[in-house]
Amino acid sequence: MTVKDVKEILKAEIICGEENLDTEVRTACGADMMSDVLAFVKDQSVLLTGLVNPQVVRTAEMMDMHCIVFVRGKVPDESVISLAKERGEIVLLKTPYRMFTACGLLFSNGLRGGCDI
């Protein structure tokens, strides 16, 4: 699916990165612990999180992720948004859904975790 599909499935609003909605995404990761995200170097493209601090953007950047979804309608402040803009290609979305539901919706629409066990 594309970032645009993620946006639609999650009834999300775009915070920034509109120009990159056509980016293809295959795997996602839902976490509030950034070290848990950093523990799997696989090509995860979407990060769902309840945190809104700059380290979320940094983590996505280190992982080459394309999209961050803030759950429960949370919005990061301007400094976090400008950090994402600086980094280029990252799309920031906010969804009214809570973490579990947001992950479930994406999974049932074909997105996977990307870390096989």
């Binding site: 976490a31 509030d32 612990m33 950034m34 070290s35 848990d36 950093l38 523990a39 170097v41 999180t49 945190l51 601090n53 700059p54 380290q55 979320v56 940094r58 983590t59 950047e61 280190m62 992982m63 080459d64 400094s79 980094r87």
Partner: protein, 141 residues
């Protein structure tokens, strides 16, 4: 590229929101040189976890990165409290981070294990009350 490039970064220990600047710049430089994305990601994650540790546990410090075609070596040196028991610190889930660090997405005790996972060599030289130098080697193969 020349045989070797050395980059140095001062890491501010007072501002958690800035943590990651050095890792970000290093990653950017590696990208410009044209390294393999998987290799860059390993370097970026390991150095980022190390940089975060410097900020949350040691009040900042200095990062030196030696970039060569076949490897990247990084030294993260701080004058923080040191690590009394390195073996314990290396365990998954062991953390002395204050609880407010959790709000920032860190402090789960996974940083050093992550660094170990992504590096080809990891050496922690530490003295309680003096500071810590974390050395990491990532081979480009």
């Amino acid at each position: 590229m020349p045989e070797k490039i050395t980059l140095k970064y001062a890491v501010d220990g007072d501002d958690f929101t800035k943590a990651g600047l050095a890792s970000s710049d290093l990653k950017h430089t590696l990208k410009q040189i044209g390294y393999d994305p998987g290799f860059i990601r390993r370097v970026a994650i390991a150095v980022y976890e190390g940089e975060i540790n410097m900020v949350i546990h040691a009040g900042g410090g200095e990062i030196t990165a030696d970039i060569a075609p076949d490897k990247v070596e990084v030294w993260l040196a701080d004058s923080g409290p040191g690590i009394p028991n390195v073996e314990l610190a290396m365990r998954e889930g062991y953390s002395t981070a204050p609880i407010d660090v959790h709000e920032l997405g860190f402090g789960a005790g996974m940083g050093l294990p992550n660094i170990k996972k992504y590096t080809d060599d990891l050496q922690i030289d530490t003295t309680v009350g003096v500071g810590t130098t974390v050395y990491m080697l990532i081979n480009n193969n």
